[in-house]
């Protein structure tokens, strides 16, 4: 059975390592924060200007001066820091953030990503996505494997305007986990109950399947 958004978030959480500084995009990536393994400590960066982002506040704790990059009210954990947005993107650009997790409309087999613009539709802007994908040391895309029409989002080449080139290292979709390597999607794990055949059928980009593909652990 394909993963739901919580399942995708939970699987991505396993990629986190102790001491990681992590930037979470809006949507599924935000959910990753709920599945951090007990034994490790990671610190969340919010690109408007904070490190040490904590959970949403209670009604009483809510503070208009304390929001995240999604403009949601949040809290700060002990050891957190505030800074301005130029400094924030400075640390992103300098590669100080260990991992960036974000959503995508399309990912290509060479690591290109498109997630900001659909021609003909109202364009809201790229926000920080172009900066993040151009500079992050390690980028994981969290997304549905196919679009609402059932078409693959893992493509030979992106059809939508690009956000960044050759930058995505890993994709976790509702169907599986894929490394992007040498111009192909390398299947690493299947979602529980999802067959290799289904993944082949729903992946338009070059797919590499080496031997037996394990089902991901619960």
């Amino acid at each position: 059975m394909a993963l739901d958004k919580y399942g995708i978030a939970k699987r991505i959480a396993k990629e986190l390592k102790d001491g990681y500084y992590v930037n979470l995009g809006i949507g599924i990536p935000t959910l990753v924060a709920n599945y951090i393994p007990e034994e490790i400590e990671v610190i969340f960066q919010s690109e408007n200007g904070m490190l040490g982002m904590g959970p949403y506040p209670t009604e009483n704790e809510m503070d208009a001066d304390l929001i995240n990059a999604g403009k949601e009210t949040v809290t700060v954990l002990p050891g957190g820091v505030f800074f301005d947005s130029a400094e924030s993107f400075g640390m992103i650009r300098a590669g100080k953030v260990d991992l960036t997790i974000l959503g995508a409309m399309e990912v290509a087999e060479n690591g290109d990503i498109a997630n900001w613009k659909i021609p003909g539709k109202m364009v809201k802007g790229m926000g920080g996505a172009m900066d993040l994908v151009a500079s992050a040391k390690n980028i994981i895309v969290a997304m549905q494997h196919t679009n609402p029409k059932g078409e693959s989002k893992l493509l030979p080449a992106c059809t939508l305007p690009l956000t960044g080139v050759g930058c995505v290292k890993k994709v976790v979709s509702d169907l599986g986990v894929f490394d992007i390597k040498d111009g192909a999607f390398v299947l690493l794990e299947r979602a529980p109950g999802v067959s290799v055949e289904e993944i082949i059928a729903k992946t338009a980009g070059k797919l590499i399947i080496n031997g037996e593909i394990p089902e991901m652990e619960a």
Partner: protein, 232 residues
């Protein structure tokens, strides 16, 4: 040294139609509420506004859109505003979309006197069109230019009469780099104090960048997205 003005009306009195303004804040967080009201009252128009976002329909820069005072927005994300969308689609409003980090840095570089710099953001995308490209350390970079503004308008938590500013939590956002970048910078503060009241180790924007300062009033500090956890 006379930087203190009476109120927002006096602070913005010489802003003319056609000016380029930097407006501090991120979303509705830390926006210069008093000066936005004064700009609406004054009725200047044909403004170019550099601001990461464009407010919401009935707050922030959204209010200036409603009164048709804005000719062009230079922003990274402008999604939360129906009137914005209408004006954009009808061609009444121009929008220049810039990656958020590039936008913040183009502003910061102005305050550092650096006219141009290189960033990898946007390489290989439509943002790169027409820009000089250079390879450093095996990675392609775009040359980006510092952003100029006739006025920068920011809101800080505390400020002293010499213009030294202190911010609270995530309100530093675009306001700190803008405060340093304006040809003329106007700061409104929740609390105006005397020189010496702020610890010189804890000032976020040195007063040398600030030309006018006043204590604002009636801050609404609206929250765009109230998100809460249940009490434990």
């Amino acid at each position: 040294m006379k930087k203190v003005v009476k109120d927002a009306d006096e602070a913005i009195s010489d802003i003319q139609s056609g000016s380029t303004l930097m407006l501090g804040g991120f979303g509705l967080c830390g926006i210069p509420e008093n000066c936005i009201d004064a700009l609406i009252k004054k009725g200047v128009n044909e403004l170019t506004c550099i601001s990461n976002n464009a407010g919401v329909d009935d707050f922030g820069i959204g209010l200036m859109l409603k009164t048709r005072q804005v000719k062009k927005m230079i922003s990274s994300y402008v999604g939360e505003n129906a009137e914005f969308e209408r004006q954009l689609l009808s061609g009444e409003l121009e929008v220049d979309l810039i990656p958020q980090g590039t936008l913040a840095t183009r502003i910061a570089m102005r305050g550092m006197g650096i006219p141009a710099f290189f960033t990898p953001a946007g390489y290989g995308t439509e943002i790169a069109e027409g820009k000089e490209i250079k390879e450093f350390d095996g990675k392609m970079h775009l040359m980006e230019m510092a952003l100029q503004a006739d006025f920068a308008i920011v809101k800080a938590w505390k400020g002293d009469t010499l213009g030294n500013l202190v911010f609270r939590k995530t309100t530093r956002n675009f306001s700190v780099p803008m405060a340093k970048a304006g040809d003329i910078t106007i700061a409104e503060v929740e609390e105006l104090v005397q020189p010496g009241a702020l610890d010189p180790d804890e000032i976020h924007v040195p007063g040398i960048y600030i030309h006018r300062i006043f204590q604002g009033e009636g801050y609404e500090k609206r929250i765009e997205r109230k998100t809460v956890s249940l009490p434990k």
